[in-house]
């Protein structure tokens, strides 16, 4: 397709790029904008490693043509630890041992982040639903579930639900 100027909010900053609107948001983030925290696991929407937030909802960035983010808000893993501090969800992933090879981790953390934005006190079933699109071959998921549950409690204690 003919290249276009696409303007969107990326990690709270305006971004303007001249690009084929059919190119995937995933390759734009990685190959054009240097945000390597977003991972490519299948490029077909099957594994969730490339999860980002698009207007606060978790999406597979490999399935989003970048033309669709015109005027939207995109958040990647790099946004969670801005200001030099890891996010409570990330702290709990570390603390609960929810990290192994780390390739699915950014997508997992962002799916959890999207969930807790919408539902600060999710039940276990809701956690499972929220990350059922994120595949992990290492962990057996148990520690990931615990980390998200624990992050929800921690955020509630701190009184700072994600906005």
């Amino acid at each position: 397709m003919k290249k276009q100027v696409i303007i969107f909010q990326l990690n709270d900053e305006p971004v303007e790029i001249y690009v084929d609107p059919a190119e995937s948001l995933l390759t734009v983030l990685r190959d054009r904008l240097g945000l390597y925290g977003t991972k490519a696991g299948c490029s077909k929407g099957e594994c969730g490693a490339c999860t980002v937030l698009l207007d606060d909802r978790a999406v597979n960035s490999c399935l989003v043509p970048v033309g669709k983010v015109q005027g939207c808000k995109v958040e990647t893993i790099e946004n969670l630890s801005r200001g030099g501090k890891v996010h409570p969800i990330q702290e709990e992933f570390v603390d609960k041992g929810a990290v192994q090879c780390g390739f699915c981790t950014p997508g997992m953390v962002l799916s959890a982040y999207a969930l807790l934005k919408e539902n600060p006190q999710p039940a276990r079933d809701q956690i499972k639903m929220a990350i059922s699109g994120n595949l992990c071959r290492c962990s057996g998921y148990k520690q990931i579930e615990e980390a998200i549950l624990s992050a929800a409690k921690k955020l509630a204690r701190q009184g700072n639900s994600i906005t």
Partner: protein, 769 residues
């Protein structure tokens, strides 16, 4: 070992912060410089002669820099049996085998050019079932098998498709069967599966004009990549540098060397450029190692009291198109062929057979999941035939201190009984739950054992640099693919060196800078690399004491090191900081003593031997790790769906260096095993892999992951670092048979294969009626 400070504690992972923030660097996450992107042209037939490859149109395609075929690059490669070329030469042996590679300025241009390459094949009859492949009239897949270079512990049969025939002859098999009151005999089948790490295979290669080759790879072993490339390309090792990043999961598929060498001739044409290849998911599933299918016949003789007197095991493995690595899986399954049981009379024949299916190779468990499926299913059948409790049959025959394996190796450090009992207790063994709402309940148990399948000279080494402020750098050649090696190894270093673990830095390897490590495979790193690191730490500590004794002019025996300073227990005034020790000048005269402290440590097994070619007797095991899995299921007869109600697993870790990481391996391995037990099977149609994406090849998601309980048993490994042994693969081994045993208990029907999909279970219920 009651006074351990760091080993045995759950310190946070060294790599956790990098990984949760997305800053951990994987191969594809670095800007490398002027790039060329490579794509492969793949075979469209499973077995055929290459009549012609026309690359004219591809070469003219805009952006294309080079096209390479096997004729121009016929170099061979292989770990144990050198039967592979990077690109097919003259003939193709599996569907999807690379026949040409294109390099272009963009990945898109390379992919477009691949479609412009025209290949003409003359199709040959194929072999898709290894049992057919063993027959005298089967089409021969490797005509040159007899001339291939091979490590002389494997036994190919000239003029056949048999790449290795491994034999065990222990005791007197005829006498064993004669003594038996009952003989049970059955066939089993385990299909192919795929590892599917979330990160696919990737490699990048750069050639510089001074003849230096730099390789970035997702390989589990940078040193083996270097070794195999040096041989294949006839290059000296100091001219090859292999760099590892974090690896996004391995599970065996990234062991050995795979795609790195494919790119070298292109890199040599464009010095300074970096030629990179990234497998997409389909290429990763179809073109890399697949777990070999196993067709087996198992016959067991047993006394009325449950004691097994004889075991005869014939295993026919689908080695796929190339078996450079697979021959050793076949060997390992052979020498371990009694599973976790002490059986006096054994006859095993394990055959590795070429077929025109995808390449067989290592997967977590290295043959043990497949081989012990038969053992653990047959024990169930034995128990039923004798009217005995399956747990009791396992306890009677299970290995104990002083037991011998199939290869006659004596086992010392184990508590298999405890592994079994702890999971049995957890799932309420012996208490039969009644069926509810028309659904049937059942319980099953399975044991497991595995030793690292490594050559007896597989070595490790380590260096430790002590900084002026008492912090340290540990340098090793093992790779971090999620197992937590960086953390566990740092803990071992910390324990031996007295320097706190948070003051120790450790990185992934780079063969130009880090010392030799054979491979990060076989659940061996905690033991092998851990031992070399412990020795390096002890060496460094010894130097610290020697220099400090000289510096402080006091006997070494009086000195202690607290990680920062060396001090005398007798005279508190006698103290030297690590910096003073490192600078090591006598205060009074200014004369030098030593210099910066560098510890070194090496390890090679001393308890392993080659095996007798006729009897398979000898010591192939560095250490043996035992465990067990227990399951309670509920089966819906209307749908055939198996629901896991309880799942428990135990592993005898010797000493859990980091209990949290150890538990993570237990969970992850068990769920990987559950996924293979219920969902996973690679389907082929005349060699064409049908399910090669996550939509068609389902793995467990969080939705179908049940609660599980895990137990770490600690029977110290005498020669392991702080008593530790490796546990990474083991948790997977017992899961499929435990689930099948539970489903059999629930329904009263047997399964000789898995996955236990709803269709298969439903069909079995229907057939029973």
């Amino acid at each position: 070992m009651a006074d351990l400070k760091t080993v045995g504690t759950s310190v946070p992972r060294k790599d956790a912060i990098e990984k949760v923030t997305g800053s951990a660097e994987f191969i594809e996450d670095r800007y490398m410089g002027p790039m060329l992107y490579a794509k492969m042209k793949k075979s469209t037939v499973a077995h055929g002669k290459i009549k012609n490859i026309d690359t004219t149109r591809a070469l003219k395609h805009p952006g294309v820099k080079a096209v390479l075929t096997g004729k121009e690059y016929p170099n061979r490669i292989g770990l144990y049996l050198i039967d592979r070329t990077f690109l097919a030469v003259d003939k193709v042996r599996f569907w999807g085998e690379p026949v040409a590679v294109v390099a272009a300025v963009t990945e898109k241009a390379a992919a477009e050019a691949v479609d412009l390459i025209e290949v003409e094949y003359e199709e040959l009859p194929g072999v898709f079932d290894p049992r057919e492949g063993m027959k005298p009239d089967a089409p021969i897949i490797h005509e040159d098998l007899a001339n291939y270079e091979i490590v002389p512990i494997f036994y190919p049969e000239k003029g056949t498709n048999i790449a290795n025939h491994f034999k065990v002859r222990k005791g007197d098999i005829d006498k064993g069967f004669a003594e038996a009151d009952k003989i049970i005999e059955r066939d089993y089948y385990v299909p192919q599966m795929q590892h599917v790490p979330i990160e696919t295979h990737k490699a990048a290669v750069q050639w510089s004009l001074d003849g230096k080759l730099t390789v970035w790879s997702t390989a589990q072993s940078p040193n083996v990549v270097r070794q195999l490339l040096a041989k294949s390309l006839d290059m000296p090792m100091h001219k090859i540098r292999v760099i590892s990043s974090y690896i996004g999961g391995g599970f065996g598929c990234k062991a050995g060397a795979s795609i790195e060498g494919l790119l070298v001739p292109i890199a040599q044409k464009f010095p300074g450029h970096i030629v990179r290849i990234v497998f997409n998911r389909e290429e990763d599933m179809q073109g890399t190692f697949t777990r070999q299918a196993l067709y087996s016949k198992l016959k067991t003789g047993v006394k009325k009291d449950g004691r097994i007197t004889a075991l005869q095991y014939e295993m026919v493995w689908d080695g796929g198109a190339y078996t450079e690595y697979g021959v050793n899986i076949v060997r390992a399954a052979g020498y371990s062929s009694t599973g976790a049981y002490d059986i006096p009379n054994v006859k095993t024949d394990s055959y590795c057979v070429y077929t025109n299916n995808s390449i067989g190779g290592p997967v977590r468990g290295f043959g043990m999941c497949e081989m012990q499926w038969g053992i653990e299913r047959q024990l169930e059948e034995i128990a039923r035939e004798l009217g005995m409790d399956p747990l009791e049959v396992r306890l009677i025959n299970g290995m104990k201190k002083g037991s011998t394996t199939a290869s006659g190796q004596v086992i010392h450090d184990l508590d298999y009984d405890k592994c079994l009992k702890v999971v049995a207790d957890k799932i309420g063994w012996g208490k039969k739950e009644e069926s509810r709402d028309g659904k049937y309940r059942g319980k099953g148990i399975a044991g497991l054992v595995k030793c690292p399948a490594q050559p007896s000279n597989a070595a490790s080494s380590a260096m430790i640099r002590i900084n002026e402020d008492g912090t340290a750098h540990v340098m090793i050649g093992a790779t971090e693919m999620g197992q937590g090696m960086l953390t566990a190894i740092s803990q071992i270093a910390s324990e031996a060196l007295h320097i706190p673990v948070d003051k120790i830095d450790i990185k992934v390897p780079d063969t130009d800078f880090t010392p030799y490590e054979w491979q990060s495979v076989g659940s061996r790193i905690t033991y092998t690399c851990g031992t070399s690191v412990k020795r390096a730490a002890e060496d460094a500590l010894g130097q610290i004491y020697r220099v400090a004794a000289d510096l402080l002019e006091t006997p070494q025996e009086d000195l202690s090191f607290d990680g920062k300073k060396v001090f005398s227990a007798k005279n508190p005034d006698l103290t030297a900081t690590i910096r003073e020790v490192a600078d090591s000048c006598k205060k009074c005269t200014g004369e030098g003593i030593a210099g910066p402290i560098i510890g070194r440590g090496s390890f090679v097994p001393t308890n392993m031997t080659n095996l007798d070619p006729e009897t398979g007797q000898g010591n192939p095991g560095l250490f043996y790790c035992f465990g067990a899995t227990g399951v309670e299921v509920e089966v819906d007869p209307e749908t055939g769906v198996v629901k896991i109600l309880q799942l428990a697993c135990s592993i005898d870790a010797g000493k859990a260096v980091n209990p949290q990481l150890c538990t993570a391996q237990l969970h992850g391995g068990t769920i990987m095993g559950l996924s293979t037990a219920l969902y996973e099977e690679v389907r082929f149609d005349k060699g064409i892999m049908l399910n090669r994406n996550f939509t068609d090849y389902k793995i467990a998601t969080i939705d179908n992951t049940p609660h599980m309980d895990s137990f770490i048993v600690e029977t110290p490994e005498t020669n392991g670092p702080y008593g530790a042994r490796g546990i990474g693969e083991q948790p997977m081994i017992g899961v499929a048979p435990a689930i099948a045993n539970a489903v059999s208990d629930a329904l009263g029907v047997d399964f000789n294969t898995f996955p236990l999909t709803p269709e298969r279970v439903w069909q079995a219920i229907k057939n029973k009626k």
